[in-house]
Every structure is written in C-alpha cells, then in structure tokens.
Subunit: 248 residues, 2 copies
C-alpha cells in the first residue's frame, strides 16, 4: 500500500489512478465549501469546469431545487446564486438543493480523476471523517493518491499541509504505507508548519490574496478542523455525502 501526492493536480496531467482511491484537496476553498454544503443538507454538488456548462446544467434541473455557485479569480459570477465562500452554504440556503458549481482550481482537479476506484473530497473542515474513510481503504490494501488542486497550476501551501496531515494520519497506528517523494515532503511540511493553521493560511499566497479580496473570514473558516463530519464522494460526476447523513 502506497501514498502519492501531486501538488499541482490541474497542471500535472493525468497520473495513473487505476485501482487507487483518490483524495482531492482544495482547502481554499472548493473542498471546504463542498464539505459545508453537503453537511448542511445539500443533495449533491455537481462540479463543472465552464460557466456556460454550469448554467446549461442548472437549466436542465428543476429551478426550485438547484443553486448555481462558483467563482472566477475569487469573485462571484454574475447571475449565480452563490459564490465559493463556505459561509454562504448554510442549511437554510442549501438544504435539499443540488449545487451546480464551477471554481478555478478545485473543479478541474475533480475532473482529472477518471479511472480511480473511488474519489473523496477532503479539507481541514472534514479531516477526521475523511481520514477514517481513507484508513479503512488503506487497511483493505488500497493505495492512495492525493491530488492537491493548487492555485492556478501552482503549488499551494495550504493544500500541501492538508495533504501532509492526511498522509501522517494514514501512516499512524499500525499502517505502514510506502510514501512517494511528494508524500514525504507533505508530511514534513505539515509537521513543521501545521501547528497554527489560521496563521499559516493567512500567510500563504492564496490566503493573502483572499484577505486582500475581503474574504479573510473564509480563510479562518477553512483553517478550522472538523467543522463537518461528512465524507463527500465523487460518483457519476457529482459529489454526494457518503452514507445517509440525514439519519444522523
């Protein structure tokens, strides 16, 4: 059993995901927003790359049951119901809805997961729930690939730290995965820099940009651990909560 990490999923082409479980990480903000939406009762999140594609898909669904969400360069998209701030996806807004979503980096990372055994979406916000799922997969002998969305094809510190925390979490207590180069690095980065997540995220390149855009509260939200006990799984081109979350 092995863990590999890709720091720029949208840029590194298509790694071989055959017979692997895949974790997609886009801490700022798509992964966090997806976790918030599903934990707050959204039926599904449909990630699409293009704005026109998202509008067309939304039109194909019952208007009262769909919300259009997304951003371009951190800004909301004209005519959309929601941006990409996890704080917008509260229960009163998203409960029972299907969210059609397009974001700069996270959506592309999900689209690049063809061939994987199963794909889950993780962030600090749903760390423990996703980790438990990953450990079960690892115990069953499945290798894991972590795809960090990065930021416009570049390395993103917050994704690397989050990836490293998942690597360390899987490698703990009885499991001894082989680690690829980038997985080793990610684990070191989390150990060295992951102590004060709110501060590290505020000082990351993407965090600074969000704060400058007036979205500092999003950075704080995304730095919090285990806000939502949800495992978002990407199946049939939509992200749904694993198990029947509503029965909890």
């Amino acid at each position: 059993m092995r863990i590999d990490v890709h720091f720029n999923a949208s840029a590194t082409g298509h790694p071989d995901l055959h017979d692997r479980v895949v974790l997609v990480v886009d801490v700022l903000r798509a992964s966090t927003t997806i976790a918030a939406a599903l934990a707050n009762g959204a039926r599904a999140v449909v990630p699409l790359e293009g704005v026109d594609e998202a509008i067309a898909r939304a039109k194909s669904l019952e208007r009262s049951e769909v919300l259009l969400a997304g951003e371009r360069k951190m800004k909301p998209i004209r005519g959309f119901d929601l941006g990409n701030s996890p704080r917008e996806f509260s229960a009163d807004v998203v409960n029972g809805k299907t969210i059609v979503m397009t974001t700069t980096n996270g959506t592309a990372a999900l689209s690049g997961t063809a061939g994987a055994l199963e794909v889950v979406v993780g962030a600090f916000a749903n760390y423990s729930a996703v980790l438990a799922w990953l450990r079960a997969a690892a115990r069953a002998g499945k290798s894991i690939t972590v795809l960090c969305a990065g930021s416009s094809g570049r390395f993103a510190l917050e994704d690397a730290i989050c990836a490293g925390r998942f690597v360390r979490g899987v490698a703990r207590r009885g499991l001894d995965p082989e680690l690829g180069d980038a997985a080793k690095i990610a684990a070191i980065v989390d150990r060295r820099m992951g102590g004060d997540l709110p501060a590290v995220l505020r000082n990351s390149e993407h965090g600074v940009a969000l704060i400058q855009a007036g979205l500092g509260e999003d950075v704080t939200y995304c730095a919090a651990i285990d806000t939502h006990a949800v495992v978002p799984v990407y199946r049939d081109r939509q992200v749904v909560p694993l198990g029947d979350r509503r029965e909890r």
Copy 2:
C-alpha cells in the same frame, strides 16, 4: 527582492519571469551533466527538445566540433555520441566541443525561460559557484525564480532539496528575501532531509529508477557538492560558462 520556486517547471506552464533571474535545477541529471561538460572544457551545450531537431542542429555544425548527447527514459539515444551521464563528459571527450543535447525534463525547463533577465543552470555539483552568482543578483535587488525540472511533470525530491539549499544560501547573511509558498517548503525540505545527500538521492523516486537502470554511479556523482566551480548561463539558446573559465 523575492524568491519563488516551481517544483514542476515543465508542467506549470510559463510563470512570469519578467525582470527576474532564473535558476534551472535538474539534479538527476541534466543540470549536473551541463556543469560537468562546461567545467571540462565544452564550448557550449545546446539544449533542444526533440531528437530530430538535435540531429539537424548537429549536422549544421562542423562534425569534428560537435557531440550529440541525450537520453529518453534514462537510456542513450541510438546514433548519439553520449548519453546523459555526467561521468561521460570528461575533459578528453568534451574539451573544445559543442554539445547538442536533448533530455526528458531538463531541456524543456530551459525552453520555458523566455523573458527572464538571465538564466543559470545549477545543481549540487556547482552549488557554491552558482550561489555566489545568485547572491550578487539578489544584492542588486533582482528577484529569483527557481525552476525545478521535476521528473516527467512530477515533483522530484532531489530538485526540491537542491532548490531549498539555494533558497537558504541566498537568504543567509544580510539578505532577507520574501519567500513564496514553494520556496518556504523547499527550504524546510532541505533543512530536514538534506543532511545525507547520497542516501536521500538513492532513495528518491528518480534515484531508485536510475539505480534500477544500472546508473547508480550517476546518482552518487550528482549528490556530490561543488565538484565543478562553473556558472552555466543560458543565452541565445545555448548554455555557456560564465566568464572565461579557461583562464583560471
């Protein structure tokens, strides 16, 4: 003054290099081989992406003055004079010659440096010489971009460690550059993993592959510090030694 690092230069598209000095790092093996070739008297190394392009260029030059070098998937290319092993580029072979060279990752990284103020090629083999040059540029206020060639569009541990060592070297003694996310990571990775370079390189993904291909001695060669006191600069599409090396 600022330092940015890109871990997968060949995959991350074209970062803005305007008014920046650029360091291209491909420890295993192109950067090391270029340093060895120039230190051992080669006139120039002409990096080209395609095999046919390399053959055509070699034909345009005086046969007695040119050597064709390169690899595909670590293997020598049929009909070429040399592979990509730095050990092949000894003075008796390369002195006075122009080397037309094509490699899997390093050549592509050099091609992506358009717009930069100046481009140098660095590895552990010529660390101190290149560092002195970079520090002079930094003292003159120039920002630095480090392009790691990586391995087939993936993160390569040995390049990250080498990039981090250059970041740390520039940031020492009186210079206080702003560090991008990946530059911070690279510095941490070098500090944590760079203690025993031969061992780390042997255990890196690319190192393991080279050893399996029977090229373990290359890995040892590339892990040695300051074998060559040469600063290779990339100008007019060829890499030449900075200053008149032969007068030393």
